[in-house]
Symmetry: C2
Subunit: 573 residues, 2 copies
């Protein structure tokens, strides 16, 4: 493609509408333009990158044995009423009436439509398993669309649905798609983790999220440095630290005055101990029961884990007022010693030494608390959010904590949809059985945005080769000059002949402008052809991700470029 003819309107200034980096750069690099809130047009550069993502997804879904279909965007309300989601789905569902006043919606997802298709066509166990997928435009009427493609209303999604005869088959389909997703994000050249996740409002029994690692991510995840364990902070387990032998003589409890010191920060500073020596005591309500929860001063209680430990779906931490009411002690002075409520202590608390804790008396704390001696009767369990450095629950190695952007989600659905919609098949013995389902999504535009969040610098995007709209940009400085034009055109033709996608910057613009645009749009390999080098028969080759460039003879530029592409392009991995 010749830049002079290419519809690529770049912007110098950061548009006011864009809050996050990917949104800013996608606008500035002429990839997208806003049409209405949360609704964007893809311009040619943006669409080329989007198609790269789509194609790798398509290849890997096909390889996993999934079959591509294309379901309609406009869906009849009747199907959504069968699963009850017409009522429960709220205002995010864009509801539409046609000219005959019949109810439809713009599909935000396709469980109902695809389950309807399968229940009509599949009769026998011999037609299972089946995995159907599509790459398609969806609409979710977000109340506050933001961050460009990250949380748009109209967006491109790959959604897949598996249909199996039994639980074992469903797990196998899940595994296949899970592996396909790993290959997809690897081939896209992205750093990512597959984390255990909550099933949320899609329902079903278990699920994983695929997270692209980026500082700007909305989610916190931890992952092991020793094995492939990874999870959302809310969901992450924590391995047991090795017990420390402790033969020291324990000091006796000592009551000290801590007037007005209620917060972890105030108490520890006042007593001159680090927060990891304080036992934080909180009160929680589980239905009509109450309990005291103990965690180290620098830790956060994890309500999901608390729920599990208490065996109750409805657990919440008590407010300051409630604490006073339940215990008779103001919040800030609670502690395990003398506590009337059942004690639930985070496992880590068991290993604390010479700890500090509230004394269940206003303006007082205890020193020299020894969990082994003073927490008898407490239930010890994993009750806190995982943090960097915690041991992996699977292999015990240290874990890291990073921020991530959710780009894919796989769910084991079970019979959540097939049961109410009566999607059944006849088994070997001619008995009717309910089909087991899974569903699997990738936000295609979101993946592109996440790739940019992960790969950029101050000057612009740094596309990984597999997603790059062009692999090479030839920056012809002063292309009106005959030798430069000829060298540029020659290399342009040669690279294209090798199947490389090349953008030839043949514009009549200053070199500075050309370099700025090339950096902004993030083409991974730049070949600069200018008078000075060319006089000596050379051109400059530079990877976008490196600061150093190399000067190579014009005649070997093709080979060097091909070598660099082969070395860096993981899309065929």
């Amino acid at each position: 493609m010749r830049y002079a003819e290419f519809f690529l309107p770049t912007l110098k200034e950061v548009p006011a509408e864009a809050e996050v980096t990917s949104h800013q750069f996608m606008l500035r690099a002429g990839m997208i333009r806003k049409v209405a809130s949360g609704i964007y047009s893809f311009l040619p550069l943006g669409l080329r990158a989007l198609r790269k993502v789509e194609n790798i997804i398509r290849q890997e879904m096909d390889r996993a044995g999934a079959q591509e279909v294309f379901l309609p965007s406009i869906q009849p309300a009747e199907l959504w009423k069968e699963t009850g989601r017409w009522e429960t789905h709220g205002e995010e569902l864009l509801r539409i009436k046609d000219r005959h006043a019949r109810d439809f919606c713009y599909g935000p997802t396709h469980e109902e439509v695809v389950t309807d298709l399968v229940r009509r066509e599949v009769r026998s166990y011999r037609e299972l398993p089946l995995i159907l997928y599509q790459i398609q435009t969806k609409f979710r009427d977000e109340i506050r669309p933001r961050f460009g493609l990250m949380r748009g209303r109209e967006f491109c999604m790959k959604d897949a649905y598996s249909f199996d005869a039994d639980e074992e088959g469903a797990r196998e389909s899940y595994r296949k798609v899970f592996e396909a997703y790993k290959r997809i994000f690897t081939r896209l050249g992205l750093a990512f983790r597959a984390v255990e996740a909550d099933t949320g409002n899609i329902g079903g029994s278990f699920s994983h999220e695929f997270m692209v690692l980026a500082e700007s991510g909305e989610d916190s995840i931890v992952f092991c440095t020793g094995c492939d364990y990874a999870a959302n902070v809310e969901k992450a387990g924590i391995g047991q630290a090795s017990p420390v032998e402790d033969a020291d003589r324990k000091a006796d409890l000592e009551l000290v005055k801590t007037p007005g010191k209620k917060t972890v920060e105030d108490v520890t500073r006042f007593l001159g101990v680090p927060p990891e020596r304080l036992i934080k005591t909180l009160i929680c309500r589980a239905g009509d029961r109450e309990a005291a929860v103990l965690v180290r001063g620098d830790r956060e209680v994890n309500e999901f884990k608390l729920r599990e430990a208490l065996g109750s779906g409805k657990v919440r931490l008590a407010s300051t007022e409630e604490v006073q009411e339940i215990t008779g002690v103001p919040a800030g002075y609670l502690g395990p010693v003398g506590m009337k409520l059942p004690l639930y202590a985070d496992r880590e608390v068991a290993g604390m030494k010479d700890a500090v804790a509230g004394a269940n008396r206003v303006d007082h704390h205890f020193l020299h608390v020894d969990p082994g001696r003073d927490l008898q009767g407490a239930v010890f369990a994993d009750l806190r959010n995982a943090e960097a450095g915690d041991p992996c629950p699977r292999c015990g190695a240290g874990m890291e904590k990073k921020r991530g952007i959710e780009v894919g989600h796989v769910f084991m659905l079970g019979t959540t949809y097939s049961e109410p919609m009566r999607a059944v098949y006849l088994d070997r013995d001619g008995r009717e059985q309910t089909i087991r389902m899974g569903c699997f999504g990738i936000g295609v535009g979101r993946t592109l945005a996440a790739a940019i969040e992960q790969n950029h610098d101050r000057d612009g995007i740094r596309f990984p080769f597999p997603i790059a709209p062009f692999q090479v940009i030839i920056t012809a400085l002063n292309p009106a000059e005959k030798t430069i034009r000829e060298a540029s055109e020659g290399l342009y033709a040669a690279l294209r002949g090798k199947g490389v996608e090349v953008l030839l910057d043949d514009r009549d613009e200053r070199p500075g402008k050309k370099f700025k645009d090339a950096d902004l749009i993030g083409i991974p390999l730049r070949v600069t052809i200018g008078q000075k080098n060319l006089k000596e028969g050379n051109v400059e080759i530079k990877l976008r991700e490196e600061t150093e460039s190399r000067i190579v003879p014009l005649e070997s530029a093709l080979d060097r470029a091909m070598e660099l592409i082969r070395a860096h392009d993981l899309s065929h991995a």
Copy 2:
């Protein structure tokens, strides 16, 4: 792809919902399924064929210098209000309110959105010309969706828009897309004609329709056998027939009684003359004027041409009651002799000999009417629909008449959209000028349906190679048999190794069922591997479009198949 694993639910019976052939076969061949009126899901076989059409369109649009974009399906009402189409577009426009009660529509076309994009981004004549296109889902809320993909509500369309600095540039863009369309339909392997057409309600100055020839087509078109002239019947010109020298003595007019004979059929049968010797006389109203219109008895008046001849936009033929009121004579007895109204005669009437015409008197006609003698003062012009055998208006050769299905439409829009939306640029002299536009559509799903209307027989589809979801089907008879399985798998792998798309029918089904399904789904080349032939080391190769098959040695099956594909696949032409 292995048939046993492929989601391809074929149907034996013709579904009641399907009226036309393409719709019947697309349902029976498991290509599509209805979700709601005019709304379909594409199953894997159908989607594969659709993608073939899309890809050829994409390649040729790119080759023509058009650039692919992807505009949103949900469009804000504000843009449609700027062009006035929010008010004029009626109920076919699917109107939507979002959660904030803002007005949107599901785009049935994208002139407004793309013009808005271009007016924001294009500043200078140097950024023109520009052709943008997309392949995308549209929605038109048809009052009576029918014929499957032929007139659906949700459908796949390629729409393109050209932007030029001046009329000359706009014509050049039009020409480029026109040529691209010719290549597209040629490469798709379809018999088609590009016909001159009316601009309809898109507006603009001139347009062509691309028609796939098929007996079931809704439109009548005529085209020259000598040159590439083609037009809709309504729009088609007719060349002048060479004048015939006529030295015969003319007989005098003779008044005869024709009691109760009013229709062309009754009169000519009663008088024993063929309809081509009757001069049919009709009355038309053009605003407040009236005129008599003369055409041969076997011809149809063309109201578009009449409008042009009378120089009035509002011309219509008078009803039976109006005829009596205007002329005082009952309809059926009108004629040119003694007619008080101005006479407009079709050119062909001038060459009629010894004609019959009404006598402007109830129950009477004249014999021996001689146009040269009796039609003095008449205006002669081309006033009728073209018919097979008529001379071409461009080259004079004979024309053919066929039925066609409109699959593409190209429009010269001029400033119809750019003027109200103020899409302007600065010319070389820094003056603001209005951008000239063209718009260009191809119904992608409709093209697929039209291809099937053109290519089928009683047993099913006969896909041209370029659109075929698979090029080859290997029908393994009794695949449980080791030799057959090995031969089938070997050929399957070998063909795939050559980049051929193959469906291996490895199902445990009777041969009859396999042959029926293969014919139904229309794969253009079938290789049958069965016990009887294989014993002699042979397999059977058959083109779907031929009735004869060839027996070839297994070891040369690959080469023969490749030869046949190369000979018949025009997609790379």
